[in-house]
Symmetry: C2
Subunit: 128 residues, 2 copies
């Protein structure tokens, strides 16, 4: 299927591109993952963040198991057409599988990765 | 050289990882690029965003030519240890080589990429 706006993207040799999920309210970067054509089309059609799971080699509809769906507000593309942003509303306020608001919960301080976000909900309570 | 916090990162088969530059003031995502160990160490040591240019195969000290240096405020790591954020102060208010505030200046609207940011400074005025 030829889809003009999809074909303008510079997919890598694996047919993937990195995508950044950003919270539309707080501006917080929630996670970084990967998409292929199918994932991006699904995201557009279903109005939710859909990724390509490289480890499972399948579409990954964020929140399918946890309920922590990311409602899609906008899709942005960079100047090189090889990186995107999903602007999202994070349902449940938890993006990370560790139960934290964001996957980027570690900050480099004194030459060590320090945890700066606390766990909102234990993973065993999220994935039952 | 063994550097513990560097060795905790899951470098890909090319020894690279994606990094997102985010404006510390506005929260705006400015660009997405790549780093290797050398670039990340240089960023930490020099307190500015340093990337690895995949096209030129060399260290890329952002702003070296344009003056649009990104002062480094913080470095963040995600749960999988394979994606990072440079939290930066964007000198000159222009991150993109097209002369725009951010590289993510296109938004998907009506099945087309629409430009949402205007050019602050013409590239020929930036790169003389």
């Amino acid at each position: 299927m030829v889809v003009s706006w999809l074909d303008q993207l510079k997919w890598n040799e694996e047919g993937l591109l990195p995508v950044i999920a950003q919270d539309v309210v707080s501006g917080r970067i929630l996670m970084q993952a990967w998409i292929n054509r199918e994932a991006l089309l699904a995201a557009q059609n279903e109005n939710r963040a859909v990724y390509w799971s490289r480890s499972r080699s399948e579409l990954w509809r964020k929140g399918e198991e946890s309920g922590h769906v990311q409602k899609l507000n906008g899709i942005y593309l960079d100047c090189d057409a090889d990186s995107l942003i999903y602007e999202v509303e994070q349902i449940g306020g938890i993006a990370c599988h560790t139960g934290r608001i964001s996957c980027f919960y570690r900050k480099l301080e004194n030459n060590a990765w320090q945890e700066i976000d606390s766990i909102i909900k234990e993973p065993k309570e999220i994935y039952k």
